[in-house]
């Protein structure tokens, strides 16, 4: 008996729980030469904003130990161009398409959501209130429960499609933000976005990122992501999508055991472009070997005490 990897995020059924994280998989087809993208549970696009954005000054990335910093600054083609040019290549793909959106005001979130959600190839919206790399919106919104509730409420009014709200780890109490997002109408939460970080070149005495601080991702942050998920699982009852340093199927299973319904891999793609498929295969094998017929039987099954 092979395991059924199907999972549900609100009204959306995914064929498996492995998604790509926003900003690390382009507009969904750039890795098509490396593997069959239709094998994924879903893809999450780069964040789309109302107007096109060039992004932050260079340099925008830096490697750190078992991690990387980025300060891309939501560089994207803008909602109109996205709808006109980027959705078409996704038509033939047999996988869920989730569009990540952001704005610099609740109003802008609403506007971009209205534009994007209307398109039938869009299966769900992921609302990014957690980007550390922009001055307005982004992280500032995601650290305040009131604004979080307001932004989510506004986006909620634009669509009946599943609404995922993406949370930042850069807060004292992630559960307060999680609850606010659910109150605003989120069908699911995804966490974590990147952790605020920095690196310095000691020869030039300049920060490695032009914008000084950026977002840390990769294996380094996996323990942080798991702890935030662990806290959030106990605070809300909507499905959660685990993100942060997932590089292997073992990593993905850690998140599922703690309570994630699905996972997103980001930095992984840069290290191993076919890594997401290996995660799907690995989860399958694990379940088959252990006689697990359905992921729900291990989701949130973590027991007490040390390993």
């Amino acid at each position: 008996m092979a395991v059924d990897l199907q999972v549900r995020l609100g009204s959306l059924v995914l064929k498996n729980p492995v998604l790509t994280a926003s900003g690390t998989f382009g507009y969904g087809v750039e890795y098509a030469g490396y593997f069959d993208v239709s094998r994924l549970g879903g893809i999450v696009t780069k964040t789309i904003t109302l107007e096109p954005r060039e992004g932050n000054p260079m340099p925008r990335t830096a490697e750190t130990f078992a991690g990387m910093l980025n300060s891309i600054g939501l560089a994207n083609v803008g909602a109109d161009c996205f709808i006109k040019e980027k959705l078409l290549p996704l038509e033939p793909l047999d996988t869920a398409v989730m569009v990540n959106i952001a704005g610099s005001s609740p109003d802008e979130y609403e506007k971009v959501a209205l534009k994007v959600a209307a398109h039938e190839r869009v299966d769900a919206l992921e609302v990014n209130i957690s980007c550390p790399n922009v001055n307005k919106g982004g992280l500032a919104f995601g650290t305040d429960p009131e604004i979080t509730r307001e932004v989510v409420r506004r986006v909620r009014e634009t669509t009946v499609k599943p609404l995922i709200v993406k949370l930042t780890p850069n807060v004292t109490d992630i559960t307060a933000i999680a609850q606010a997002a659910v109150e605003g109408g989120a069908d699911a939460l995804s966490l974590i976005n990147t952790v605020l970080g920095m690196a310095v070149d000691i020869e030039t005495r300049r920060p490695l990122l032009a914008r000084h601080v950026g977002g840390l991702s990769g294996p380094a942050i996996k323990p942080i992501a798991l702890a935030k998920l662990y806290q959030t699982v106990r605070a809300v009852s909507v499905p959660l999508i685990g993100i942060g340093g997932i590089m292997t199927w073992q990593d993905a299973l850690e998140f599922i055991i703690v309570g994630a319904t699905a996972v997103q891999a980001g930095t992984l793609h840069f290290v191993d472009p076919c890594g997401a498929v290996k995660i799907i295969e690995g989860i399958k094998t694990y379940c088959d070997e252990k006689g697990i017929g359905d992921l729900s039987s291990i989701r949130g099954s973590m027991e007490d005490g040390g390993a």
């Binding site: 750039e30 030469g33 490396y34 925008r60 990387m68 980025n70 560089a75």
Partner: protein
């Protein structure tokens, strides 16, 4: 554009601090063009995490490819300790090649420092087109030159410069290039090297209207155009070095400063 398990056949040191790796990677060797690059994963563990981009230095009909690299940091240091037999994971060929076809009779190939890495495959390719080739090669110290005999015997016109040492002009390669450029009106230029040299070249060629292609370097994460990490302004537009480049029109590049 694929992932390859490249078997390291040989690693040697053509010049102090500079290593050459020869891999068996038939697919990659067959499909690579000069100016393209490969993103190499230097370890199975997650430190260092990201792949390292290297120009394809040469390819051979026996299915081998070469890269030439300077040991500058943690990744290249690890690479320099890799022994023959080991397989490294390489993604490539990535990026867009130099355009070696066209109605020009002379190719001016200008390389500074590690710019010699892509220059050799470029020269290999140009040699097949029968164009005459002038190779302007500048280094810091003249022990960084290699393959000079082979270049000469292949009919490449060599112009060498070094800041320290006795070989060629004592100074920058642009010093010798500048007064000579106008001799070759029916030519096309190809440049690769450190940013200050490229900026200087951009100023120099203002009044010399042949086409000039440049290969740029930026820090990279993905190497395939998804992370938006390697942005550069070219002709008013933001372009990604990895997927829109690394080869651009030298005149259009905005070096920022």
């Amino acid at each position: 554009m694929k992932q390859h398990r490249m078997r390291l056949i040989e690693q040697n040191q053509p010049a102090p601090g500079i290593m050459r790796m020869i891999f068996k990677a038939p697919d990659l060797a067959r499909n690579s063009r000069p100016g393209q690059f490969v993103q190499i994963r230097v370890t199975d563990t997650f430190d260092p995490l990201l792949r390292r981009p290297f120009s394809i230095h040469r390819t051979h009909s026996n299915g081998t490819i070469e890269i030439l690299y300077r040991i500058v940091g943690r990744g290249t240091r690890l690479m320099s300790r890799t022994r023959p037999g080991v397989r490294l994971d390489g993604m490539g060929p990535l990026g867009n090649p130099f355009q070696t076809e066209g109605n020009f009779s002379t190719a001016l190939v200008v390389a500074g420092g590690m710019g010699s890495a892509p220059a050799f495959m470029l020269i290999d390719t140009l040699l097949k087109t029968g164009k005459s080739i002038h190779f302007f090669w500048g280094v810091r110290c003249d022990d960084e030159f290699f393959h000079l005999e082979w270049l000469r015997s292949s009919g490449v016109e060599l112009h060498l410069a070094c800041e320290r040492g006795d070989t060629g002009h004592q100074g920058l390669i642009t010093d010798i290039l500048e007064p000579m450029m106008n001799r070759y009106p029916d030519s096309k230029g190809f440049v690769c090297g450190p940013k200050p040299m490229l900026e200087k070249m951009q100023r120099m060629i203002r009044t010399f209207p042949i086409p000039w292609e440049v290969s740029l370097e930026e820090k990279m994460a993905c190497g395939v155009g998804v992370c938006m990490g390697c942005a550069v302004r070219v002709g008013q537009k933001i372009q990604m070095v990895c997927s829109d480049g690394p080869v651009f029109d030298l005149r259009e590049v905005d070096f920022g400063s």
